[in-house]
């Protein structure tokens, strides 16, 4: 027997001795109930999916019946430094399952509250597509508010959980963009996701 033959070990075993589990990378939670019909979200997801360090997590594919596995999701959250959520804007908010995910997983005592600090120090990043044009999201446009204003609930979630709120990535007019334009957006998105892992947070002051 030579000592070349070693039983294969799980690489995570190498970190035994550490008290806290190693965290790394981006958890990209995608929420689109009809991804097969979405050109923009498919293009974005595809661009980010292959990236090193990105855990792609398709919520509607994992929980078609909305029966979210809370424990499994909390473990996922803890195992990543950056939590990215990608979704189309539905009625000025997130799709139902993404909201359900926040409601069920980001619990008091886990994500926030006196004993809830599991998310503290991590970054929260939102990538959002809208059907309407950019100029519609304006005090004088027909949506009357900017997209930043519509994303305030997410921003405040980050704040309450002690997280760093990253500048959102937005694709306006997703329905009217042609393939070339979408390709460009996808490249931009890929670069942005990549930078989330390497570059320092937008605002280190954050909370």
């Amino acid at each position: 027997m030579t000592d070349q033959v070693q039983p294969k070990t799980d690489p995570s075993d190498a970190t035994t001795g550490l008290v806290t589990p190693a965290t790394s990378g981006v958890l990209l939670a995608l929420a689109h109930p009809a991804l097969e019909r979405s050109r923009a979200n498919r293009a974005l997801a595809k661009a980010a999916k292959g990236l090193e360090g990105v855990t792609f997590h398709d919520l509607y594919e994992t929980y078609p019946d909305f029966a979210i596995d809370i424990e499994a999701e909390q473990e996922k959250l803890m195992a990543h430094d950056v939590i990215a959520v990608q979704f189309p804007l539905y009625w000025y908010s997130t799709p139902a399952l993404l909201k359900e995910w926040f409601d069920l997983v980001w619990l008091h005592g886990f994500a926030y509250g006196l004993d809830g600090n599991a998310m503290a120090g991590k970054r929260l990043f939102a990538a959002c597509t809208t059907g309407g044009a950019a100029k519609a999201y304006h005090a004088h446009g027909y949506n009357r508010f900017t997209l930043d204003e519509y994303l305030r609930p997410l921003e405040q979630t980050a704040y309450l959980c002690g997280m760093v709120w990253e500048t959102p990535f937005v694709v306006h007019g997703a329905a009217t963009k042609d393939d070339e334009e979408l390709k460009a957006e996808a490249l931009r998105y890929r670069a942005r996701i990549g930078s989330l892992m390497t570059a320092p947070a937008d605002a280190e002051l954050g909370a």
Binding site: D65, I70, G113
Partner: protein, 639 residues
């Protein structure tokens, strides 16, 4: 020669020569024909007088026509009326006249020439269809045109029998005999013409009416007995019966079998009939080809080689020319016309019958008849060769043009996306969901009452035992994307999954399982996914029970979802130890404990009265209360 020895010779010749011929790219038909020549009375002389075998072998053609009938729905037949009556009629008339013309030029009296023309206008159903089948051409436009012509030839034999005796120029030999085969001397020959006509109509009526109203209840009765060989026997009985009826009234038995097939094409027994009869077709046709090969009179060929070569080539070229011209007139593209013309350019088995009939009737002299018989047999043997030649030439001509995709739409009830084996209480629901979403499915079931019921609801269900690979193949499993197994039999389900997986490694196989153990068995035997038949339904009932016990609907639904998740997880966790009884029992006890613990934890969260359920805000409520108290205290202090 004793029967067994004869069988030995025939089977031996077939088993040796056919695989060799196939390997050489010559096709099985040529293999059989060569085997026939070799064992025939004019070469090795292993088989001698073979008129009995010839008759037996001709039954192969009858079965062939029956099988084709099964594939042709009456509506398809109506769609083909132009090919049958237009193209077919023109072919028979055109070829007869052309050959008669040439014969007259060669010095035959016009009566004899016309008779020769009619005799040689026939092509060989068996050889043409078998050759086209092997080349995968039968379902396409070429196959359909050829089929239409052959069908009309079968019909045309009837007036020919009436017409030929009127052409007699020679004093008929005292007793010719050997005319009984294809209806020359039928039982009704002595009747006056009007009675003969009535008999024919009555016979057709019996076949159609019997097929429609009698055969199905009988088959249903037999199917309920679940005796496969009796079902096969009954299928053969139909074919033999119909052939006999037709022969009695002087019609072609093959035509009758075809008619019976068409009548049964819409029945739920179609697939099973097809699969049961298919092996007989192959063997009997093979026998038929061997007898044709053995019938080639090599002595005659050797004695008059040039005359015979001239006759064969003349016949084939002439028939090719007429067919090609007519096909072009009917608007076929040059390539298709050439293919049809090549396929049909030989003489047919009817020629043998008609020739002996004409000799008997004093129309054609015995010497000429013998010569023509040899020519017809040789031309039949040359057909596969001609087809190979045609393909070579066609390839040379249009190497650049992409191959035409044969249109199969009209003949089959589609290429199914999914095959569902078992259409009982389980398969039906799955099937309905899939068809409602636009997927085409072919359903096989062996419960005759069930099929009956479903058919009354207008669903297409085929009778058959889905564990038979041949039946699955007939149902189109090679082109299907998925097989769903929902049989009402545990062992058969496993068996089917196993054999299907072995035969089709890429097929997606989903199966309904009885229970957990059955589910493991199925997965171990190659199922891609399983569903325990009672699991989801029981869960749904449990959820309803929770609701009736006072849970709000959403909470009951969630409780069900959590249970499902735990159960599925333990199913996966225990899968590796399945088969090791001790380990499995230990592990499953362990899993049950874990499950109880988890469920109790869930239960604690879902305790009645605490209506927030998973949206457990108790700790938040407490914290908010504390904060309010602190702030109240602060205000108090500030006062």
């Amino acid at each position: 020669m004793p029967f067994l020895l004869q069988a030995l010779v025939y089977l031996g010749a077939a088993v040796i020569s056919v695989p060799i011929a196939k390997r050489l790219g010559l096709g099985s038909v040529l293999g059989y024909l060569i085997a026939g020549v070799v064992i025939g009375p004019f070469a090795l002389s292993l088989v001698g007088e073979q008129t009995d075998i010839m008759k037996f072998a001709e039954f192969g053609v009858v079965i062939l026509l029956f099988l084709i009938g099964l594939e042709v729905q009456p509506s398809t037949l109506w769609d083909m009326r132009k090919a049958i009556f237009g193209f077919g009629g023109a072919q028979v008339v055109g070829t007869s006249l052309a050959i008669a013309g040439v014969s007259m030029l060669l010095g035959l009296p016009w009566q004899t020439a016309l008779a020769v023309g009619m005799v040689l206008a026939m092509s060989s159903t068996a050889i043409v269809l078998q050759t086209l089948d092997e080349k995968g051409l039968r379902q396409g436009p070429v196959g359909r045109a050829a089929f239409g012509i052959l069908l009309l030839q079968d019909l045309a034999v009837i007036p020919m029998f009436a017409l030929l005796p009127t052409l007699a120029t020679i004093a008929p030999p005292v007793h010719a005999g050997a005319v009984e085969t294809h209806g020359g001397a039928s039982l009704i020959a002595h009747l006056p013409p009007w009675a003969q006509g009535l008999s024919v109509l009555a016979a057709v009526g019996v076949v159609v009416g019997g097929g429609r109203y009698l055969v199905r209840p009988i088959f249903r009765f037999i199917a309920e007995a679940r005796l496969r060989e009796i079902f096969t026997a009954a299928a053969l009985l139909i074919v033999v019966g119909v052939a006999s009826i037709m022969q009695t009234v002087g019609l072609s038995p093959a035509l009758g079998a075809f008619l019976a097939g068409v009548v049964l094409a819409e029945s739920e027994f179609r697939r099973e009939l097809e699969t049961d009869i298919e092996p007989f077709r192959g063997l009997l046709l093979g026998l038929f080809f061997i007898t044709v090969g053995a019938g080639i009179d090599l002595k005659l060929v050797a004695a008059q080689p040039l005359v015979l070569i001239g006759l064969v080539l003349g016949l084939m070229i002439l028939k090719f020319g007429v067919l090609f011209g007519i096909a072009r007139l009917f608007g076929a593209p040059a390539r298709g016309a050439a293919a049809v013309a090549t396929a049909l350019a030989q003489g047919g088995e009817f020629a043998f019958v008609l020739l002996s009939f004409t000799v008997g009737a004093g129309v054609i002299g015995a010497t000429l008849a013998a010569l023509l018989t040899a020519a017809v047999a040789v031309s039949m043997a040359l057909t596969p060769v001609a087809m190979i030649l045609y393909e070579r030439i066609a390839q040379m001509f249009d190497a650049a043009i992409p191959k035409q995709i044969p249109d199969t739409g009209a003949f089959e009830d589609g290429e199914p996306d999914i095959i569902i084996a078992g259409f009982g209480r389980f398969g039906q629901i799955t099937g309905r969901l899939l068809t409602a979403n636009g997927f085409r499915s072919t359903v096989l079931d062996s419960d005759i009452e069930q099929i009956d019921l479903l058919r009354r609801f207008g669903r297409r269900v085929h009778y058959g035992d889905a564990t038979r690979m041949d039946l699955l193949r007939a149902a189109g499993i090679e082109r299907a994307r998925m097989l769903i197994v929902a049989l009402d039999d545990r062992e058969k389900t496993v068996e089917l999954v196993e054999t299907a997986r072995k035969a089709f490694p890429d097929l997606v196989i989903l199966a309904r399982a009885w229970d957990r153990r059955h589910a493991y068995d199925l997965l171990a035997n190659g199922a891609d996914a399983v569903e325990r038949e009672t699991f989801e339904a029981a869960l749904a009932l449990g959820t309803t029970a929770l609701q009736k016990l006072g849970y709000r609907a959403h909470r009951a639904h969630r409780a069900g979802a959590i249970f499902r998740r735990h159960d599925r997880k333990s199913f996966e966790d225990l899968r590796p130890v399945w088969g090791q009884e001790e380990a499995y029992i230990l592990a499953s006890r362990d899993a049950a404990q874990t499950m109880d613990k988890l469920l109790n934890a869930d239960l604690a969260r879902l305790r009645p009265g605490d209506a927030t359920g998973a949206w457990d805000t108790a700790s938040l409520d407490e914290e908010l209360k504390e904060r309010a108290e602190r702030e109240a205290a602060k205000r108090e202090a500030a006062k």
